[in-house]
Amino acid sequence: MIRIAGLTRRQWAALALVLGLAVAFLLPMVVTDYRSFQFTLVIIYAIALMGLNLLTGYNGQISIGHGAFYAIGAYTAAIMMDRWEIAYYWTLPAAGVVCLVSGFLFGLPALRLEGLYLALATFALAVATPQILKYFDSWTGGVQGIVLFKPDPPFGLPLSQDQWLYYFSLAIALVMFWAAWNLIHSRIGRAIVAIRDHPIAAQTMGINAPLYKSMTFGVSALYTGVAGALGAIVVQFVAPDSFSVFLSISFLVGAVVGGLASFTGAIYGGLFVVFIPNISEEISQAAPWAIYGAFLLVFMYVMPSGIAGFLRRIGAWIARRNAS
């Protein structure tokens, strides 16, 4: 067993997890409400990216349309809160179920398509969503969108609204990451990965590839939908302009830059999606997206397997040096 500084790799991973959780837990105590709000967005995007990761990272299917599921989740939450005055926390399971079903149904026909063709089919979803939302304006509020109230912390907890929403999102994220971890490390998870690595061999082994693919699509949409519902609650507003094609592309960028087929990758991806555009704007007001592009190129060149893959390689390198 290779040890680094007396700890095995597994122990190091456990230590990192504990430290990460401690940092995540203490963060809102030491930063401003505005930063808490930003980190809440990071958590929300991390959940959405985890969903995309299940599909793209583990199952090998590309989607440029996950912004649509994010929008469906967000509108489910917004309509429930605004029309039926249902408490915000109940909107999350509902958004998850709605997206699971719509993802599965979209997946059934679309998944007969492979690779780039599937990517284009999902792209159609991303392009169509903002306009479809405008058509059903008696429900969605049309271009006006729906304005929501920000929830107060329950039980008289001495937290600001932003701090509370941070912890609420963090708790949801932990549950969902834990569930995804169990899914991937189960029989079903192995089937999902097998379809990515060797579709023909997987089918030969008796795996029902179309069913598994549709199901993965549905679960992936569920994650993104729950993230969308959280996003609506935190931003307190939904409108068709919030869910442009660019959102879907940001998700794909975040998933790839963070690291595909990796749990920590989703978190790094969330950090990238929230902070890199802001940093770019600080560097150049005139051409922020050129700076963003430069960041993207550097990340892709230096870390071709994403931030998570890069960190894993550094870990392996340290382990090798220790071993020799």
Partner: protein, 404 residues
């Protein structure tokens, strides 16, 4: 016992000192020092609506001019922080919070867009941050009870529609009106204002209302059905591409009603020329700014001053772009409001001064139009002047109309 009293009085002394300190500094809100005032704004500098981004840039250039030539306002330079939201409401929320909580601006100024401002209006009002002169034509910003910290700038779509309604009631009392409108907020705002302006007469005078979706390729079929309705007055509530189509189609199928065109689409280059100048002859519209491309203002000192300003402080901007003269005008109002505050630069006083503007004239507004606000009047501009296209250019006619 003695020690306890000593401690107590020390605490009282500290508290007294703190409150005295805050009383002395109470004249300054966040973002203000003896030499600087910070204002913030969210705008689309990227994305589909980035053409509007130039408004804030022109306003910023005007602040540069005031800072350079007059040393700022009452000795304080204006630091105008613009942040890009790409016209995406969630991003607007993030950027607005950054401006308020991190950059610590005194106030928001000229945030652009209806959905984007809708996303932050509650937040800013809850935080009691002045949300001044928003760049949108929606009428919902003038709601003093609901949004006490928000004020509009341009005449709202409803105000404009009422101007046409009034004109029709006075001059075409037996009109049969057909309306074409875009099926969204903007179109419905016009429709609502128009109905309100016609009052009881609305149901007698309006014979047809047809809508189109912004995604439709043409409005040809709508124009045909309007013609078939027998309408002899046409109220055209469309964005530039559709406005040109509607004008051309009506003429081509031999329908020649009296036409009213919303001022979203009065651009000669984008609407009238593509439609055909002879087909647009006689159309009535309205405006409130001097159009820098209109030859009648060529020798106007205000428009000349504007051109010089553009050349010196915003050389990248196009002086012919109406959005630039828009930004130039609204920045002058902001400077006036700050000037009126004197050295009492709290958020409360800024809001008070923004809501007590009395007939403030801006040289690039049409003659006779001025800005007036009040505690119950959160709309800066509510006046327009009618204009008619004579086959070559827009000719202003009649009095200034609208409330103050």
């Amino acid at each position: 016992m003695m020690r306890m009293i000593g401690r107590h009085s020390a605490a009282i002394f500290v508290a007294a000192a703190l409150s005295a300190g805050s009383a002395a500094a109470a004249n300054y809100g966040p973002g203000v020092t003896d030499t600087e005032i910070k204002l913030g704004s969210t705008n689309p500098f990227s994305g589909p609506a980035s053409a509007y981004g130039t408004i804030a840039k022109a306003a910023s250039a005007y602040f540069d001019k005031v800072n350079a030539e007059q040393g700022g306002v009452n000795g304080r330079k204006i630091d105008f922080i613009m942040r890009d939201d790409g016209y995406s409401p969630p991003k607007t929320v993030e950027q607005a919070r950054k401006l308020v909580e991190q950059d610590q601006v005194l106030a928001m100024f000229q945030n652009l867009g209806t959905p984007t401002n809708t996303a932050i209006v509650k937040y800013l009002n809850a935080k009691k941050v002045p949300h001044l002169f928003v760049a949108t034509g929606a009428s919902k910003w003038d709601q003093p009870d609901k949004y006490p910290w928000t004020t509009g700038w341009q005449p709202s779509y409803q105000t404009e529609a009422k101007v046409y309604a009034k004109y029709i009631l006075e001059n075409l009392p037996n009109a049969k009106i057909g309306i074409l409108y875009q099926n969204d907020d903007y179109g419905k705002d016009y429709l609502e204002g128009f109905h309100e302006g016609l009052g009881d007469k609305a149901k007698d005078l309006i014979v047809a209302e047809v809508s189109y979706e912004v995604t439709d390729p043409t409005v040809d079929s709508q124009i045909i059905s309007l013609k078939d309705s027998g309408a002899d007055v046409f109220f055209n509530v469309t964005t530039p591409k559709f406005a040109a189509q509607a004008i051309r189609k009506a003429y081509d199928i031999g329908w020649h009603p009296t036409q009213f065109l919303n001022n979203v689409s009065t651009s000669k280059a984008a609407v009238i020329d593509p439609a055909g100048v002879e087909k647009a002859k006689g159309i009535i519209s309205s405006y409130y700014l001097k159009d820098p491309t209109d030859p009648q203002w060529n020798d106007d000192p205000a428009v000349q001053a504007y051109r010089e300003f553009m050349a010196q402080y915003y050389p990248d901007g196009d002086p012919a772009d109406l959005f630039n003269i828009y930004g130039y005008a609204v920045a002058q109002l902001m400077v006036e409001v700050i000037r009126k505050c004197g050295d009492d630069l709290t958020r409360e006083n800024l809001m008070k001064q923004a809501l007590s503007v009395d007939h403030f004239e801006i040289a690039t507004l049409l003659p006779g139009i001025s800005v007036t606000t009040g505690p119950d009047d959160h709309a800066a501009l509510e006046q327009l002047q009618l204009q008619q296209f004579d086959g070559k250019e827009w000719v202003l006619f009649g009095d200034i109309v609208g409330t103050e």
